[in-house]
């Protein structure tokens, strides 16, 4: 018997969920393994012992509760910016503007969280976070709208909006919003707007922000895969023309996607302010918005897979100074690892594109055939 009329065999033939999952995850794990191998080679080249360096990295990330808390602190913004980029990817857009959206969210929450409005915490804090989300959303909707309605490429606009946001924060933090003194930072966040502690560790306690970030991942995954809106959203990302032809409002989905992406990055900025620094510093982000691209790529834009990848990157970023201090190896090795991983994903996409697609020709250029 060859092919038979299609019928509902949902209970019979599909490979068990685990098998498909493994097939999906394998490429990313492979790429990471290669990246770490390259990292080891560089360690050896610079005169270090890869095993020692590895042990130091592990200790630096997870050796003490303080180190673990440090990893969490770095993972939270990476989860949200990674998710931001992933959401945009799902509708077929490239959000390079995570950094600007993050700054926009941070700025608004620093402005609203620094004065005691006489509000109880359960109103003030959510209001500040919603404002951060809204600010990021605006910063995302602008390029989304320009792309969907005017055909202007989102990459150009998001990059420009990055400059605007970062420079504006620079100016305001050193000028009008400056708290005085030598530091370029704003007035501290009032207690009513501060994210409560989840785990009090020295030196940096972990706030409930991590729960917010995890919840955002789960909610996004649920929306993408279990709601009609989510299915249509992904359809637009995979084939906008076909989506339009069946009556899905593709341009609206694109604007929505960039808005959501911006909102998530904005929320990351807000959480940095009310959950970690309790003030807004100029240049407070080491590039979380850009690292989010790497996170999303490695996680293959899956909202839940974002979490382990972000934690991995957070761990590398936390432990890298130990490399320098203890193992005597340049901390930039970590950046190399990250870079190789991203390259690997890019290469993989290029290669699988060229592999025989189910009904495609042997060599398939970038068009939807």
């Amino acid at each position: 018997m060859t092919s038979e009329p299609l019928q509902d065999r949902s209970h019979a033939v599909d490979p068990p969920l685990g098998v498909t999952r493994v097939r999906q995850i394998a490429p990313s794990v492979g790429v990471l393994a290669v990246a770490f191998a390259v990292g080891c080679a560089f360690v050896a080249l610079s005169g270090g012992n890869p095993f020692h360096a590895g042990a130091v990295l592990l200790y630096g990330a997870f050796g003490t509760s303080g180190n673990i808390a440090g990893v969490i602190a770095k993972s939270v913004p990476l989860i949200l910016t990674g998710l931001s980029v992933a959401v945009a990817f799902r509708v077929g857009l490239f959000n390079i503007g995570g950094e600007g959206q993050l700054y926009a969210g941070a700025l608004v929450s620093a402005a609203l969280g620094a004065t005691d409005l006489g509000l109880p915490s359960f109103i003030h804090l959510p209001a500040v976070l919603l404002a951060a989300l809204a600010a990021g959303t605006v910063w995302g909707v602008i390029p989304g709208w320009l792309k969907a309605r005017r055909g202007v490429h989102e990459v150009i606009n998001t990059i420009m909006l990055n400059y605007i946001a970062i420079q504006t924060v620079d100016y305001l933090v050193s000028g009008p919003l400056n708290a005085g003194g030598y530091a370029t930072r704003t007035h501290p966040i009032v207690p009513a707007a501060t994210m409560p502690e989840l785990w009090s560790v020295e030196p940096v306690p972990v706030s409930w922000g991590v729960v917010v970030a995890l919840a955002a991942c789960v909610a996004t995954a649920w929306w993408l895969f279990n709601t009609a809106g989510g299915v249509e959203f992904r359809a637009v990302g995979l084939n906008p023309k076909a989506s339009r032809a069946v009556g899905i409002a593709d341009t609206r989905k694109m604007i929505l996607g960039m808005g959501l992406a911006g909102g998530l990055a904005g929320l990351a900025g807000g959480l940095e302010v009310v959950g970690l620094h309790h003030t807004l510093y100029a240049q407070f982000s080491p590039g979380y918005g850009f690292d989010g691209i790497a996170v999303a790529l490695l996680a293959q834009s899956h909202p839940v897979a974002i979490i382990p990848v972000a934690v991995l990157f957070g761990a590398l970023r936390t432990a890298d100074r130990w490399l320098q201090l203890v193992a005597g190896v340049p901390r930039d090795i970590v950046i190399i690892i990250q870079g190789v991983a991203v390259l690997g994903v890019g290469l993989q996409t290029a290669l699988t594109r060229r592999a025989p697609a189910p009904h495609g020709p042997p060599v398939q250029p970038a068009t939807a055939s």
Partner: protein, 502 residues
């Protein structure tokens, strides 16, 4: 050399999971022969030829080209052996021009520099050889499907393939274009090239092929050759025992006006694909739109579907839908069957289930949550009666054979009880049985009181199906013929010179 067959396939077997696409296929194609490969949708034709071209790695079997055995699953080895495959679905870069696409991958030049003028000359001479109505500087995205097909073929021919494999090249070509293609193939056959041709048009085989092989359910069920074959025998071998009824026309009638389109004009990058086209269609009526490819038929269909900005008015059963988006028109009762299923008809990585209900997901859920079981049940219901074959509802759409994908696209469009169906080549890629089935479904729409506007590369199909035929020439209505005035000569004249009389 000539004593060895150009293609010798032995015991070819390929499974996709539980689906056996090819089972012990033996196929021998002599050098300089035009060999037809036939079979119903999902019979395994594309899989077999993709195995020969190395883009599918068979599980078992051997393949030899001109006596030299090929390593399996290596496209590079196949190309070196002189095999050129023109796939069922296009692989053109839409934003590039004709000559750039032809040059792609085999750019002439030295030291990595592209020799532009040589590449352009090469493309130009190929176009001249085949006599195509194409300019080397046309952008692919502006071409009709038929012309894209020609570019695909030129692209492969430009690589000096000695064994040319074509997967359903004629399914989108008008008779004139097909004739041109075969005249060209005849010339290269005489020059010693071998051609293996997959087609659903028996006439292609009867008119031009030397031998034919028929597959069914992955196996060879029939072999015959010029001189001994006859049409009925081939049809029987392809579809099994079923009788294919060609004549589906039913004299339905309705008196109320369903659609009034007045003065439709489009302007796409300065090109007026439609120029003041007016059209009225009654309830219960099927109207065929004929024309040489590129004269506005597809644009008319897409304009009515709401996918092309246009001037003029469109009124559907008393409602002015001129300003309605594609989504609104769909809800107004307009169903669209696109000409290019890959570009506009499906989301390839999505499951068959999700493709069947695409655009309707919001109907199946409580508030936000999607009711997966309902979606699955509903889509199983919707494709029932279309005989979609493949390896399950949850398999990705990309894993269906071309014809089965087309059935899903048609099923989706007709599932919504539309008032007006606008269909661009709805039977493209379907086997004889499935094509007849789709024609019957279109007639059913009319019997229910709906209306159908349909294009086809095959005039006879329109003659079989329609109450009236409208001929477009250079974006304008060149003339209309009622059913009792149908006449191939008349239509052909209108198609080629824009009016009935010379």
């Amino acid at each position: 050399m000539s004593s060895e067959p150009a293609i010798k396939v032995q015991n070819l077997t390929k499974r996709f999971g539980a689906t056996v696409a090819n089972e012990g296929i033996d196929l021998t194609v002599g050098a300089g022969e035009l060999h037809g490969l036939l079979g119903e949708n999902g019979a395994g034709k594309s899989t077999a030829i993709r195995a020969i071209a190395g883009s599918v790695a068979p599980d078992e079997g051997t393949i030899a080209i001109h006596g030299r055995s090929l390593p399996l699953g290596s496209p590079v080895a196949a190309i070196r052996a002189g095999v050129g495959l023109v796939a069922q679905h296009f692989a053109l870069v839409e934003t590039l021009t004709v000559w750039e696409n032809i040059a792609l991958g085999v750019e002439p030049g030295r030291w990595g520099l592209l020799d532009r003028s040589r590449a352009r000359r090469h493309a130009g001479s190929l176009i001249d050889q085949i006599g195509a109505d194409l300019r080397i500087d046309d952008r692919i995205e502006d071409l009709t499907v038929g012309n894209r097909q020609i570019v695909e073929i030129l692209k492969i021919l430009g690589r000096d393939s000695r064994v040319l494999i074509l997967d359903e090249p004629t399914s989108t070509l008008s008779p004139v274009e097909s004739e041109r293609l075969f005249a060209f193939l005849r010339r290269i056959l005489d020059g010693g090239t071998t051609v293996l041709l997959v087609t659903h048009r028996i006439q292609d085989i009867l008119d031009y092929a030397d031998r034919a092989t028929v597959l069914r359910q992955g196996r060879v069920v029939h072999r015959s050759q010029r001189g001994t074959w006859n049409e009925n025998e081939l049809v029987d071998a392809i579809v099994g025992e079923t009788n294919v009824e060609r004549n589906v026309f039913a004299s339905t009638s309705g008196s109320r006006l369903q659609l009034r389109a007045a003065g439709l004009s489009t302007n796409q990058a300065g090109i007026r694909n439609l120029d003041r086209v007016s059209l009225e269609v009654d309830e219960g009526t099927l109207v065929g739109v004929a024309g040489v490819a590129g004269n506005g038929q597809e644009t008319l269909i897409r304009t009515l579907a709401g996918l092309v900005p246009h001037e003029g008015r469109i009124v559907l059963a008393d409602t002015d839908i001129t300003d309605h988006t594609a989504g609104q028109r769909r809800r107004d009762g307009v169903a669209y069957i696109p000409e290019d299923r890959h570009a506009e008809g499906m989301v390839a990585p999505f499951s068959v289930v999700d493709n069947v209900v695409l655009g309707n997901h919001t109907r199946y859920g409580h508030r936000f949550l999607l009711d997966r079981n309902r979606v699955r049940r509903r889509s199983a219901e919707l494709i029932q009666g279309y005989n979609v074959r493949g390896s399950g509802l949850d398999a990705p759409m990309a894993a269906l054979s071309g014809g089965n994908q087309q059935k899903v696209v048609v099923a989706r469009a007709l599932s919504s009880q539309p008032r007006l169906v606008v269909a661009a080549q709805p039977t493209r890629g379907l086997d004889i049985g499935a094509a007849a089935e789709v024609r019957r479904k279109l007639v059913e729409v009319a019997q229910r009181g709906g209306s159908v506007i349909v294009t086809s590369a095959d005039l006879d199909e329109l003659f079989d199906l329609c109450h009236r035929i409208v001929v477009l020439y250079a974006g304008r209505v060149a003339g209309q013929l009622g059913r009792n005035a149908f006449d191939t000569g008349k239509v052909a004249r209108m198609m080629t010179v824009g009016r009935d009389s010379l």
